[in-house]
């Protein structure tokens, strides 16, 4: 049953996943070609200096990528379920209603996590050519809130899409927009360090709030 469920979810999101991976790859290639180019032109020591003491973030094009991926996968996965209230079919499957949502959600989250990990691993590998571990660590620390924000976006957009009433979709969107903004407040390198754990914890808690929309749907809010 799980295999079937994953099969359906995969059919919905696979195109978006490949596009997300492709985009990420293009972004990473772009970053490192640019780093290589700049290091040739301004000298590596100066390039390091601009990161360390001027806060020039060479990977800033990655900033909204996780957000876009989270958003796109959430839409690809949950929008088809809302068309014609197709989620009824899903709830009618011989599985518990909460269970089916949790499995769908876990699968989606794992796929996003995989994409994110691929990006982070490739980024680390690419950075290791040009930078010492100190700069790589500071970079990863700086982009961590962006990736957490991508996960939070996925969870919240799922909640919004499955909510049966338009007015509440609007209200949820307002709260979600306010919350997701937190992850993307412009900040200097490493400034998010003390808040990463709380944000990660909240994101983890958000992982099953989609049940709330599912419940409201099943109790006939429409």
């Amino acid at each position: 049953m799980l295999k079937s469920l994953i099969y359906k979810e995969w059919i919905k999101i696979r195109l978006v996943v490949w596009i997300a991976l492709g985009l990420s790859l293009v972004a990473l290639i772009n970053i490192f070609l640019k780093v290589r180019h700049d290091i040739l032109f301004v000298d590596a020591a100066n390039y390091w200096y601009s990161f360390l003491f001027r806060g020039v973030v060479f990977f800033s094009i990655l900033k909204f990528l996780p957000f876009i991926i989270g958003l796109a996968i959430a839409i690809a996965q949950y929008f088809p379920e809302t068309v014609n209230k197709r989620i009824k079919l899903t709830f009618h499957l011989p599985v518990s209603e909460n269970g089916v949502l949790i499995w769908m959600h876990t699968f989606g989250a794992l796929v996003i996590l995989t994409v994110f990990l691929v990006v982070l691993v490739l980024f680390t590998a690419g950075s290791a050519i040009f930078f010492p571990s100190n700069i790589i660590r500071a970079s990863l620390l700086t982009m961590m809130p962006w990736f957490l924000g991508g996960m939070a976006t996925y969870f919240l957009v799922a909640l919004i899409l499955l909510e049966p009433m338009w007015i509440y979709r609007g209200l949820y969107t307002a709260v979600a927009a306010g919350f997701v903004t937190v992850f993307y407040t412009g900040a200097s390198i490493g400034a998010f360090r003390p808040v990463l754990m709380p944000l990660a914890l909240i994101t983890l808690l958000l992982s099953f709030v989609v049940l709330f929309s599912g419940y409201r749907f099943r109790k006939g809010e429409m």
């Binding site: 590596a44 360390l52 809130p145 909640l159 709260v175 400034a191 049940l211 709330f212 109790k219 809010e221």
Partner: protein
């Protein structure tokens, strides 16, 4: 599980509204807070308090622009020279441009510098290259298990240089890793004095590179200092190398060459929340500690002996009308940024006093009315009412945004 998921959403709703609503409020009502500059005049031998464009003596006498400039001849010597009003001598000392310029300095510390992400790689310049201009090195150092130099071009460790410096540090009794590293990683300074570094046990060291060789000095402190922040400066007078901030033992400067620690005569300074300002001229230094709504200024002579003090206190944020209004409307506020930190956190600021209880009560009544109107069960809504009672308008909004439709809904009463 589902009820729990709703409470998570309500909590997020409260978090978001407690960030957004007060920030909207401040956008509309915030006024520029008072942040005076205090100087000490060697002419009047008294303080001058500058608030925007008004300058006053501690007694309240207002200075005109000319009087102000003449009272601070070191700050405005170029204007005074142009006007021809610069005294030839002050206190028997002949006024010459180079000595004036050399003695003048300004410094400002804010808690944002203490609570901030710090670089872990630093360039160690050659201090005596024999060239007029300083040059950036091709490598950067870090002090973790040892002192390592990494060559930027190859991204590889220079083993030879690393061992050389690690050994020099170890010989002086340095315990790895470094705790604080402070220096001026720039070529735009009069000369290079390397870095002031505390080791893992808090001992203070001076490290620089002279003709490629390590120069390491262990700086003895009169007592064990809990150093939290060091800022190196490039004074033209070469009076001292840097400012040393301790958690609660005050502020020190490390005198050039001799490495004596001179304690600045300021008391009660807390580097986590207070701002420190210093303005120096040939005769005096004016040291100011600023809190949120007060300052304490101390003037010292060139031997760091106190020659005068002056302080002021004014209305705090929550004593001003807009602060009172905020403390009435909202039981607390959450911010992602704080004026005392460079880090992003959830800064939770409870409103002082109990005026917010009134608005919490109004929010609670609104929640009760909404439940009554919808004919929802009271028992199922007790947690919501409690949330609203505690978090006021935030809780009201959050519990309405994520409705509590778990209890069986009673059919509406027939008309």
């Amino acid at each position: 599980m589902i009820k729990f998921s709703r409470y998570i959403l309500v909590a997020i709703g409260i978090l978001v509204t407690s960030i957004v609503l007060p920030s909207l409020f401040w956008t509309i009502f915030e006024k520029v807070p008072r942040s005076p500059n205090i100087f000490y005049s060697c002419i009047t031998e008294d303080f001058i308090v500058v608030d925007g464009s008004t300058r006053k003596s501690p007694e309240g006498k207002e200075y005109t622009s000319d009087e102000y400039e003449q009272a601070l001849p070191f700050m405005f010597y170029r204007q005074l020279m142009a006007d021809g009003t610069m005294p030839d001598t002050i206190k028997g000392v002949k006024m010459e441009t180079p000595s004036i310029a050399r003695a003048s300095s300004f410094y400002r510390y804010t808690p944002k510098r203490l609570d901030a992400p710090v670089p872990t790689l630093w360039p160690l310049l050659e201090s005596q290259s024999g060239k007029v201009n300083l040059a950036m090195p091709e490598d950067y150092f870090r002090i973790e298990k040892r002192m390592e130099f990494i060559v930027a071009r190859t991204n590889e460790i220079n083993e030879e240089k690393s061992s050389l410096f690690t050994d020099a540090l170890t010989a002086e009794g340095f315990i790895f890793p470094a705790n604080l590293i402070a220096g001026l990683p720039t070529t735009r300074k009069s000369c290079d004095e390397g870095y002031f570094i505390t080791d893992n046990e808090g001992s203070l060291f001076h490290v620089k590179m002279i003709k490629g060789e390590p120069y390491v000095v262990r700086i003895e402190t009169p007592e064990k200092l809990d150093i939290v922040y060091i800022e190196a400066v490039d004074l033209r007078s070469k009076e001292y190398y840097c400012y040393v901030f301790t958690r609660n033992q005050g502020i020190f400067v490390i005198m050039d060459e001799v490495y004596d620690l001179q304690r600045l005569p300021v008391d009660g300074f807390n580097p986590a929340i207070h701002t420190f300002r210093l303005s120096a001229d040939l005769f005096n230094k004016c040291l100011t500690i600023l809190g949120e709504n007060w300052y304490e200024a101390i003037a010292v002579d060139d031997m760091y002996q106190v020659v005068g003090t002056h302080g002021e206190k004014w209305e705090g944020l929550y004593e001003r009308p807009e602060g009172e209004m905020l403390a009435t409307l909202f039981p607390f506020e959450t911010r992602m940024r704080d004026e005392n930190s460079s880090f992003v956190r959830f800064y939770f600021k409870p409103s002082p006093g109990i005026r917010w209880l009134i608005f919490n009560l109004i929010a609670l009544i609104a929640a009760v009315l909404l439940i009554t109107r919808r004919g929802w069960s009271w028992k199922a809504n007790i947690p919501d009412l409690l949330i609203t009672a505690v978090t006021g308008i935030y809780g009201l909004i959050a519990t309405q945004f994520f409705p509590n439709k778990f209890s069986k809904v009673k059919p509406p009463a027939k008309k």
